[in-house]
Subunit: 163 residues, 2 copies
Amino acid sequence: MATLYRSAPPPATRSAGPEFAPAGGRRHIGAMRPNTFPTAPDTLALERGAVLAPRFNVEGLIAAVATDARSGEVLMLAWMNAEALRLTLETGEAHYYSRSRQTLWKKGETSGQVQAVEEIRIDCDQDAVWLKVVPGGDGGACHVGFRSCFYRVVENGALVERP
Amino acid sequence: MATLYRSAPPPATRSAGPEFAPAGGRRHIGAMRPNTFPTAPDTLALERGAVLAPRFNVEGLIAAVATDARSGEVLMLAWMNAEALRLTLETGEAHYYSRSRQTLWKKGETSGQVQAVEEIRIDCDQDAVWLKVVPGGDGGACHVGFRSCFYRVVENGALVERP
């Protein structure tokens, strides 16, 4: 169904060239590749097509859930803008967009909890992505210090820490 | 840390009384319990407190990721408003909010894919919930017909169906 689209995203590569250097120094440098993805022309293409056509929300963001590729545990739910998604695809390391800091954010850049992406999936209406990752550093993903951000269970209306 | 809060949400129950009847007929009936949750007074309470204090976005929604309680597979990512979260806690069956239809939505109401909730977790900053569910009906969760909404993998920039 790729023929339904006028433009396709660049293939994901892991080139070591300067264009794909770690995001740290590139944040405010004009990217050589546009952060654009095509728009699916119809529901069939959106749901069954072979072209990645993510639907970003009005803020330009898409939800991203990261699970541990080994344990399957949900580690975190975060957001990506088009650049974060593109960099994730190109580098194989998870990039997100911080809504509070309003900036691109390579996971693990300061914490060491870099997320090597084993697989990326997208859902039926292409407004959410699922990353299976192998966390680096101490193996965690949460700034509070737990492995997963979801370290609390709701029990009888109250929260119980059960990491 | 419950004492930090002025009000606490009602305890989750599975009462069979009319107040907790299936959501179908109650959508436009004034709920007997308010759809309000407390607000955490500070970061410590938010991240380590025992009080459920979900942070809904400007649209009044919180992201919810549902995984299969048995396989661990991510089934779907959807949204809840306060009423959907309250009903999920009270009934033990997943309720969401449809942004496109702008209405509360009990999962499986028409498809039969009712989601029995085994566990609900909330993340560090309480703006996302994780539901471990046992899907009813045909065991699926996706309107397209796949078990999971995430039936496509991104490979070399293209989408490949791999349910």
